[in-house]
């Protein structure tokens, strides 16, 4: 007599087959694998190329920076009958920029009365008649904003990561359950889960093509990320928010902010979250803020499966943004290729081609909105927030282990009262945080 579970992702994808363009090429490749390679039937993922038509959807954007602006356009590109009617941000110039962009690129005019500035701007936005809210502020604010959206019964697209500390991650888990119970749909910006390539590989891994997963490697090693130096006209709070990816309290550090994508892929394929982590990391060349610029973490799922995770944001070093999963019968780069244990390719993802023979790539940033909008319009619920919160909490567990040098367990994370962020009220002005860079261990 439990409440009905919302439609799972795969179920959802199956159910939306009507009118969908199937992913081509799969059947041919299935034949190429030797009999007995798979233990179950491959459930071919099916994606819509555009959102199904239906009731008009009125959206508001909270956080109008780079990602918020991108998400706003992605949303409008996802299908028919979609409009953006409200914006909220802490800074006026961010709102002005997005208004102009929407007018220039999409011919969307926003009313002054529907543009809100300030830390409580999201509350005013939520009082409007909206169906859909895009949350794209720095992640520190996400749990509070998401909770407010759920209480206001809005469907939500929110960017990862969804929290920066254990308390926030658990708040999102609970709010996600509230959203499920209230019939809302939520998609969370872990876009690999909306990528055709990953889903086609996933279908085959689930069918047993590489046997049981025994180990995973995940990487986000890249060059230095952007940063902003302080300006005399800014308060400290304004600087930190404009430079947010470099501040742990706002971003969760780059293992959480960026590398969570790859960690999420490992969790998604393994089907659960790690139970403990031992990590290390440091800050070698970052220019601003208090984040590290490199981490390496050994996550352990259940005493037998390890996820080795590496992330770095330093120039002129080896780079890689990828995942590798090893099974007892083979291995895979879940972004497109499956090999058997001897290194023979069992499957390789090939983009479908259009009439002219050109490959058609899916844009996962738009696909996220296509999937979310279609779910809303077809009444097939999809709620990703809890699972994303688990991946975010996994990354937080790795971060805390690296900062402290200690082994950190999932149980500790699920009962930890660690919150980061200013002790005092959030407002423009000086920021009351401890900005000591953590150094693990002792002399």
């Amino acid at each position: 007599m439990k409440p009905t579970k919302p439609t799972s992702r795969r179920r959802f994808l199956e159910n939306t087959a009507l009118g969908a363009i199937g992913v081509i090429g799969a059947s041919k490749l299935i034949q190429s694998c030797a009999p007995g390679e798979t233990t179950a039937e491959v459930v071919e993922p099916v994606f819509l190329k555009t959102a199904v038509d239906g009731q008009p959807i009125r959206a508001g954007v909270v956080g109008c920076g780079g990602r918020g602006s991108g998400a706003a356009v992605n949303f409008l590109d996802a299908g028919p009958n979609l409009s953006i009617v409200a914006l909220a941000d802490v800074f006026q110039d961010r709102i002005d920029d997005l208004r102009k962009k929407l007018k220039d690129e999409k011919d969307v005019e926003l009313e002054d009365a529907n543009c809100f500035v300030g830390f409580d701007a999201y509350k005013k936005l939520l009082e409007l008649d909206l169906d859909y809210v895009i949350l794209a502020t720095p992640p520190y604010f996400r749990p509070e904003h998401f909770q407010a959206c759920v209480e206001a019964r809005k469907h939500v697209f929110m960017e990862k990561p969804v929290a920066v500390d254990p308390v926030g991650a658990r708040a999102v888990m609970a709010a996600s359950k509230q959203a499920e119970a209230a019939g809302l749909c939520v998609v969370t910006g872990t876009q690999r889960r909306h990528q055709w390539s990953y889903n086609n590989v996933k279908a085959r891994i689930d069918a047993g093509m590489i046997g049981d997963i025994v180990a995973t490697n995940v990487y986000w090693n890249q060059n230095q990320l952007w940063y902003r130096e302080n300006q005399s006209a800014w308060t400290e709070m304004e600087w930190m928010i404009r430079d947010w990816v470099n501040w742990t309290w706002l971003s969760g550090d780059h293992i959480v902010e960026q590398h969570v994508h790859n960690i999420d892929v490992s969790n998604w394929f393994v089907g659960t979250h790690p139970v403990e982590a031992v990590g290390m990391g440091s800050r070698l060349r970052r220019k601003t803020g208090d984040c590290y610029d490199n981490f390496s973490v050994d996550f352990i799922y259940d005493k037998t499966i390890h996820m080795n995770s590496m992330c770095r944001q330093i120039n002129d070093c080896a780079t890689s943004v990828s995942e590798y999963l090893r099974g007892n019968k083979g291995y895979t780069n879940p972004g497109g290729t499956i090999w058997d244990a001897e290194g023979n390719v069992l499957y390789e993802w090939k983009s479908p081609v259009d009439e002219a023979g050109e490959p058609v790539e899916n844009d996962p940033y738009v696909q996220e909105h296509i999937d979310l909008i279609s779910a809303i319009r077809e009444g097939k619920q999809i709620v990703e927030a809890e699972e994303t919160a688990r991946s975010v909490l996994t990354a937080i567990m790795g971060r805390i282990s690296a900062y402290t040098g200690k082994k950190v367990t999932w149980e500790e994370m699920m009962s930890s009262d660690i919150t980061i962020g200013p002790k005092s009220e959030i407002k423009l002005g000086p920021v009351d945080i401890d900005r000591t860079i953590p150094i693990a261990g002792s002399d």
Binding site: K2, R170, M173, A181, E412, M414, S415, D417
Partner: protein, 506 residues
């Protein structure tokens, strides 16, 4: 003949169907009739069951919904309803016919251990399908996340025990009003008590109106543990060791609410909630930083004053001792396990410090069942399962042991300072032990003496037990859990000892 037989067959068949239909119809009538609240109440006349139900949120709610007896006390239809109904029916008819309801211990039956057998979680979930309704508080959301992670460990009523039968003493909320008592202008002690040689003395808690008696326990040698032929002996009570104990002072009674509340008032941190097992290293705890407000009612509404303080954590009891040490200038601490047993025995070597066979005091065995438990002697000395009424009692209810100590056995469990180990006695070096203090490390601490919930077998001088941190904090909905109060152990307390520093000339 043929058609006739055919007709007869048809008549028999039809009348059979009719009888069957009648049985089903009447059977259903009986089930419906015997499932009404009025029918339940006709036998269940025990104190306040109907009144407390009517005051509960299952009746007294804004929606005007009445949740009936069988909605909670039987599983949902189709999930074993009739089977359970038959079982409870037979049991209830038996009890109603052959037993005296006044002899039942309703207090005990309303405790969670018993209540969870008579309240079906499937029935809770049958109606309450959403653990995360919009508008649920942050604490509620966290608590339900916790509940789901403890699959099978927690019953809904572990936390929501009063929703069916209202009980103002059982609060499931942060009890911020705890310890706030409007005191009349009583005279407050300004100076602590004075030790005059190795004699009993009275301690005065400065800044409070509270005093308590300390008994001088002379040093000596005794046999710690129980012989293998002692009834109900557990393996961990042996091997018996000869132990030499130095003189010390021990509180005459278990630390009372008066004493503990003086500590709470002087050191308590209002609203502070971040002192947790995970985040506070023990050595960082400032002796002056005292408990946070408890979650729920630690006294269970059984009374305060001289009643034993209970449900504080072992850590809290240790901090209490540090505080008492600081404000009195003496050295207070929890007793070692060896000191505790020495004091409890008071020079005796039998299972209890009075004459008696544990086998005659337990609610077990044919003889005891037929002739009743012989409690005349034990009743004078120990508050235990057979006489407690499932609650702790004031120290005035029982007599002293040979050393002049009250409630060493029974009433509430008492913390010792030792880590618990099964084989603690055999791990010591050979020979006579001088003031042993247990293993160097461990997971849980020793608790001794048994409690008002225990049978006679567990309130023997030699019985050993230990703290059960996870179970005793099972329903604490705070994340992380309190370092100061056990949410699920209302039968543990402690007793202080004061070290005796022998002065030249004493």
């Amino acid at each position: 003949m043929r058609p006739k037989r055919k007709r007869a067959g048809r008549i028999i068949f039809l009348s059979g169907m009719l009888v069957l239909a009648l049985i089903i119809f009447l059977g259903n009538k009986v089930v419906v009739k015997t499932s009404t609240d009025e029918y339940c109440a006709s036998c269940h006349i025990h104190p306040h069951s109907t009144q407390s139900w009517k005051r509960s949120t299952h009746v007294d709610n804004k929606m005007g919904i009445h949740v009936h007896c069988v909605d909670c006390h039987l599983p949902p239809h189709g999930e074993g309803y009739l089977v359970q109904k038959a079982k409870t029916g037979i049991r209830d008819v038996w009890a109603k016919t052959f037993r005296d309801s006044a002899s039942f211990n309703w207090e005990a039956k309303s405790q969670i251990e018993y209540a969870s057998h008579h309240t079906f979680e499937t029935s809770c979930i049958h109606c309450h399908q959403n653990n995360y309704p919009l508008g649920l508080t942050k604490e509620g959301r966290e608590a339900h996340l916790y509940y789901e992670r403890q699959a099978g460990e927690l019953h809904c009523i572990n936390c929501h025990i009063t929703v069916g039968h209202y009980d103002p003493d059982r609060l499931h909320a942060q009890n911020t009003g705890f310890g706030i008592v409007k005191t009349a202008s009583t005279e407050l002690y300004t100076e602590p008590g004075v030790i005059n040689g190795f004699n009993n003395f009275t301690e005065y808690i400065p800044g409070s109106a509270v005093s308590f008696d300390m008994i001088a326990i002379p040093g000596g040698t005794y046999m710690m543990g129980s012989p293998v032929d002692e009834p109900f002996r557990d393996q961990d009570e042996g091997p018996v060791r000869e132990v030499e104990i130095s003189p010390f002072f021990m509180a005459k009674i278990e630390a009372s609410w008066d004493e503990y509340m003086a500590f709470f008032k002087q050191t308590g941190a209002q609203g502070k909630s971040s002192d947790t097992y995970l985040n506070v290293a023990r050595e960082d705890v400032d002796g002056i930083s005292g408990p946070t407000p408890p979650y729920g009612a630690p006294d269970q509404g059984w009374g305060i004053g001289k009643m034993p303080a209970m449900s504080m954590t072992h850590h809290a009891a240790e901090v209490y001792c540090e505080w008492l040490t600081e404000i009195t200038g003496k050295t207070y601490r929890l007793p070692t396990e060896a000191e505790w047993e020495y004091a409890a025995r008071g020079g005796t070597t039998s299972p209890y410090f009075f004459e008696g066979d544990p086998r005659r005091y337990v609610d077990k065995g044919i003889r005891n069942r037929i002739f009743g438990v012989d409690t005349a002697v034990i009743n004078c000395y120990i508050i235990y399962a057979e006489n407690s009424g499932a609650r702790s009692r004031p120290p005035s209810a029982t007599r002293e042991n040979p050393f002049g100590l009250v409630n060493m056995l029974g009433n509430v469990l008492e913390f010792c300072s030792d880590w618990y180990a099964d084989e603690a006695y055999s791990q010591y070096a050979e020979g006579t032990l001088k003031d042993p203090s247990g293993p160097d490390s461990g997971e849980e601490y020793v608790v001794r003496g048994g409690s008002y919930r225990d049978g006679a077998e567990s309130v023997r001088c030699a019985s050993r037990d230990y703290t059960k941190t996870d179970a005793w904090l099972k329903t604490d909905p705070q994340i992380p859990k309190s370092v100061w109060w056990y949410s699920d152990c209302f039968y543990v307390g402690f007793r202080v000892v004061c070290e005796y520093e022998e002065m030249p000339g004493d």
